[in-house]
């Protein structure tokens, strides 16, 4: 069972990055009737989103986030020992986007850098990997980058996806240094590959490298199966994580869920019996940005951060794979949070 408790890791900061170009679903969506748009917006909850466009990649957004973060927390570039880039929208099939970012960020060649090919579950998995690397010894400082440009692989004519997705990147700085007596972080991770076709881009990989049908380069989503998966798996993983950590659901300050769809999230919140105020929503302004929606919600979710007291956050990613996981972590009051914009207006 993939359940772990890892001691002593600290989040020094989280910065999210979004393109400056905005798409207003109610004003700018041609190709659908006003009524259709209003219905989708009402159900999915996405009023506007940020769009990378053809020239901007996840790596660009993550680079912007990482530059801002390193400056904000005062980390020298050559003090970074590891870089993990979690993405399903890499710059190239080969090499790893993490290698590009190592050089673009001016990190030393003593830095271990690699990609992790996960989407919606990517942030809890990424935190787990970073925490393991630090607690295992040898890695003192790790940068976790998580970026996606799902708006770039949505079929514009498919109403179920084209108004839903937005693009975002993020950078999280991890280091040993939680105070004496701080609770360990808890992780519970899962996979069900039998649902691999429920969220899939069929073409462009090695099963079918050059499909004739251009729609095979766009994401296909089985909404009903994803809905069932979400409402079946998310409550259980939250319960399992609370048990692992020896906590009750009231002990968690915020449940930061992957911002899949407002309808699903409201249903989950009701099912879990937690107050809506503890489940911040950011998809109204940013859309479903895949896995980076979690760090984006940490920075933009309006979290109330009392001075002198850390927050207990339950981070839950669920989706493509099918893969899902949770991370129950501590966010110190002095951890730096923020967001930058990547200017792509022209």
């Amino acid at each position: 069972m993939a359940k772990s408790r890892i001691q002593g890791i600290d989040i020094k900061g989280v910065i999210s990055a979004v393109p400056s170009r905005m798409f207003d679903n109610l004003k700018d969506a041609s190709g659908f009737t006003e009524d259709e748009v209003r219905k989708v917006v009402g159900m999915a909850g996405v009023k506007s989103r940020r769009m990378a466009g053809e020239s901007v990649c996840s790596s660009d957004l993550c680079q912007a986030a990482a530059e801002a973060l390193l400056d904000k927390i005062g980390w020298e570039r050559d003090s970074v020992d590891a870089l993990i880039m979690v993405t399903q929208s890499p710059d190239y099939l080969l090499p790893s986007t993490a290698c590009l970012l190592q050089t673009k960020l001016g990190l030393p060649d003593t830095c271990a850098a690699f990609d992790v090919g996960l989407g919606c579950s990517g942030y809890p998995y990424g935190l787990w990997l970073g925490a393991l690397m630090i607690s295992g010894g040898g890695i003192k400082r790790a940068l976790l980058l998580h970026g996606e440009t799902p708006a770039r692989f949505a079929d514009e004519s498919d109403r179920s996806v084209s108004l839903l997705f937005g693009d975002a990147g993020s950078a999280t700085a991890l280091e040993m240094g939680a105070p004496e007596g701080a609770d360990p972080w808890s992780f519970v991770l899962h996979t069900d590959g039998s649902g691999y076709e429920d969220l899939i881009i069929r073409g462009g990989g090695f099963r079918e490298r050059f499909p004739k049908d251009p729609r095979k380069y766009c994401v296909e989503m089985n909404g009903a199966n994803i809905f069932n998966f979400s409402i079946k798996r998310v409550p259980t993983v939250i319960q399992d994580t609370l048990e692992l950590a020896g906590l009750k659901k009231e002990d968690v300050d915020y449940y930061i869920l992957h911002q899949s769809n407002q309808f699903i999230m409201r249903h989950l919140t009701k099912k879990l019996g937690i107050p809506e105020a503890k489940v911040p929503l950011t998809l109204g302004d940013y859309g479903n940005t895949g896995g980076p929606s979690i760090p984006l919600t940490i920075t933009q979710g309006g979290l109330d951060r009392p001075t002198g007291r850390p927050l207990t956050l339950m981070l839950v990613g669920y989706g493509v794979g099918l893969s899902w996981g949770s991370a129950l972590v501590r966010l110190a009051p002095e951890a730096a949070l923020g967001q930058v914009e990547f200017d792509n207006r022209c």
Partner: protein
């Protein structure tokens, strides 16, 4: 298991799910005659089945629901429908 409901209560439930007056629907009413019964309406139906009856509707079952009567039969097969006298 959730308590049984009568056919007329089930019809009222379906009407509420699809936000139509109950007088406008009968078991014979087809899916394409109900405006809100589209892909988004199906998600609403799935959520209400989960919330009210703790049932998960699969993709195959969704394909088979083509009329209000099909939904009532689905509830009947799950032992949730008490037929009216």
């Amino acid at each position: 298991m959730a308590a049984e409901i009568s056919s007329s209560e089930a019809l009222a439930w379906v009407a509420e799910v699809f936000e139509v007056p109950v007088e406008k629907i009968r078991p014979e009413t087809r899916r394409d005659e109900i405006e809100a019964w589209d892909s988004l309406g199906i998600l609403t139906l799935m959520a209400r089945l989960d919330e009210d009856y703790h049932i998960l509707l699969t993709e195959e079952e969704i394909q088979q629901l083509q009329s209000v009567g099909d939904i009532l039969n689905f509830l009947r097969k799950r032992g949730l429908l008490r037929d009216d006298q």
